[in-house]
């Protein structure tokens, strides 16, 4: 896409990232770069370390190696400091606050009450009539797709410059998958960089500027969606079941 700024300092630069679960060596030297305004899809089979990459960047799994966000080292920083630098994270478990209303969930996403930046609550609710209709109901009663929308919108309320979205379409009906794709496209249009951890090629190829494929704890392929489409060998070896 045209708004990607490749000639400037990358938004996120991951170098030789390693991570362990106990003795199991899950990430074995991951390298990746995301430019300002760029949408990057991280593909791969289950269990190759895509979610762990997201968790290691966010500090939820202790990372070894270099993680630079806007040129600043973020490994070892507490999660609220990372968030305040402008890095948003939507984990795969759709961690909404079930006892709170939809609106309260969105309020909790705001980091600076004086200036919510690119997004505001009313605009979010207008985008999703389903959420608007239930703005003052407990979020616990929402459907899976609505919960997914809410978690993404909630993170947007903090006005991130890069948002990491982990498996947003898992277990959702095709129609909802389409809506999640539309939302991610809207985020990209607003100039926010996106790291999308996905399994569905359709949604990834529709909005991504760059594709990474992961296998056995490292990046095994990097290219544009167009180039990737021609590489049936890569798809066969690392993606198809």
């Amino acid at each position: 896409m045209s708004h990607v700024q490749r000639n400037v300092e990358p938004m996120l630069k991951v170098e030789n990232l390693h991570a362990y679960y106990g003795k199991s060596h899950v990430l074995q030297g991951v390298n990746m770069e995301i430019a300002p305004g760029e949408v990057v899809a991280l593909l791969g089979r289950n269990g190759v370390g895509r979610s762990t990459t997201a968790k290691a960047i966010m500090g939820e799994v202790p990372p070894k190696g270099q993680i630079l966000f806007k040129g600043q080292r973020i490994s070892g920083l507490p999660s609220h400091r990372i968030a305040h630098l402008g890095l948003g994270y939507v984990p795969e478990n759709r961690d909404i606050f079930p006892a709170m209303t939809v609106r309260q969930n969105l309020i909790l996403g705001i980091k600076n009450m004086q200036n919510t930046g690119r997004w505001n609550i009313e605009q979010m609710l207008d985008m999703f009539p389903n959420l608007k209709a239930r703005a003052d109901t407990a979020a616990g009663v929402l459907s899976g797709g609505e919960k997914q929308m809410l978690t993404i919108c909630r993170t947007l309320m903090g006005d991130p410059d890069l948002i990491i979205i982990d498996e947003p379409t898992e277990g959702l009906a095709p129609k909802i998958v389409q809506q999640v794709g539309d939302l991610i496209a809207t985020i990209a249009k607003a100039g926010v960089s996106i790291l999308l951890v996905e399994q569905k090629l359709s949604i990834a190829l529709r909005i991504a500027d760059k594709v990474y494929v992961m296998g056995h704890g490292e990046i095994v392929y990097e290219g544009s969606p167009q180039e990737f489409l021609d590489r049936s060998d890569i798809r066969k070896e690392w993606l198809e079941v």
Binding site: H80, D95, G158
Partner: protein, 310 residues
């Protein structure tokens, strides 16, 4: 009638004091996942701090400063103690708070002595407010009632009506996610622990001179506060309130009933001179909270309003 009115009033006051202690304990439970054995020690610290501050200045300053000091000690305990122990799991945390309770007990004995201190109701509040059915009712009890209700309304407002309250509630259940949204969860935890200790301290300030301020007050109050939290349902503020009022009124009412078993069960042939017949309802009062605990755990393991199993 006289007995009922006074029992209800005194029971409510005792219940509100219990709630002041148990509200902090139940919030801290939601946060750490364990019951803080040392919680009643902060109640004791509040009373002793107030006694010392009152000796130097006056009661009103003590009313403000003693809870702040107790809360400050609580924050230090969380920041430099519990937070480090937390990584080693619940058993270590539990043992830590157990040790802390004894430590505070001993320190209090060293500083203030083994006997009760003369922590008195301030002169400005030491008068009869009204006379009902020929009995005088002390103004200080109504003062306790006001302080407790004011605290309760403030706490409810903070938790349910402010953004900070939302952050606290969300951090108690989803600490990781709240951190990723940019809120300083360790600071929230330290503040909640400190505020819980400050509430316990406040209960000590206004309860220490109503009851008695001695080194045994924490040990006496601790188990009852535990009962309140478990009966109400672990982690539930509403439940803690209900249980505190229930236990407060139940226990206070029982104390004022002088009837013995022989009076009640006389028709069964129980006489006043027999071992069982001699027991009065008032004597049974201290057992009531624990009886309630046992019964609730059998019939409703989650407590009155709790969401998780004990």
């Amino acid at each position: 009638m006289e007995t009922i009115v006074f029992s209800l009033l005194n029971g409510m006051i005792y219940g509100l004091l219990l709630f002041m202690l148990s509200s902090g304990l139940t919030l801290i439970f939601s946060m750490m996942g364990i019951l803080n054995f040392a919680h009643a020690s902060f109640y004791m610290l509040g009373a002793y701090f107030a006694y010392t501050i009152m000796g130097v200045t006056n009661f009103w300053l003590a009313l403000f400063l003693a809870p702040v000091l107790a809360g400050g000690v609580g924050m230090l305990v969380e920041r430099w103690g519990l937070r480090r122990v937390h990584v080693n799991g619940h058993v270590a945390e539990l043992l830590f708070t157990f040790g802390l309770a004894y430590l505070i007990d001993e320190v209090v004995r060293i500083i203030w002595g083994r006997n009760a201190v003369n922590y008195k109701v301030p002169e400005a509040l030491d008068f009869t407010l009204f006379t009902l059915y020929g009995s005088n009712y002390p103004a200080y009890r109504i003062f306790i009632l006001f302080v407790a209700v004011f605290m309760l309304v403030s706490l409810w407002y903070l938790l349910k009506r402010t953004r900070i309250g939302l952050i606290i509630q969300a951090a108690l259940t989803h600490p990781h996610m709240v951190g990723h949204l940019g809120h300083n969860v360790p600071l929230v935890f330290m503040s909640v622990f400190g505020a819980g200790c400050a509430l316990a301290g406040l209960a000590g300030v206004i309860g220490g001179n109503y009851f008695i301020t001695d080194p045994a007050m924490a040990v006496q109050m601790g188990p009852i506060v535990f009962v309140v939290v478990v009966v109400g349902g672990l982690g539930s503020l509403e439940g803690a309130f209900l249980a505190a009022m229930l236990i407060g009124i139940l226990q206070t009412s029982a104390v004022s009933i002088n009837a013995s078993f022989s009076d009640i069960f006389g028709f069964l042939g129980l006489t006043a001179s027999s071992e069982l017949g001699r027991i009065t309802v008032a004597q049974l009062a201290p057992t009531l909270p624990f009886l309630l605990l046992v019964l609730v755990l059998i019939a409703r393991p989650r407590g009155l309003m709790g969401e998780r199993e004990v």
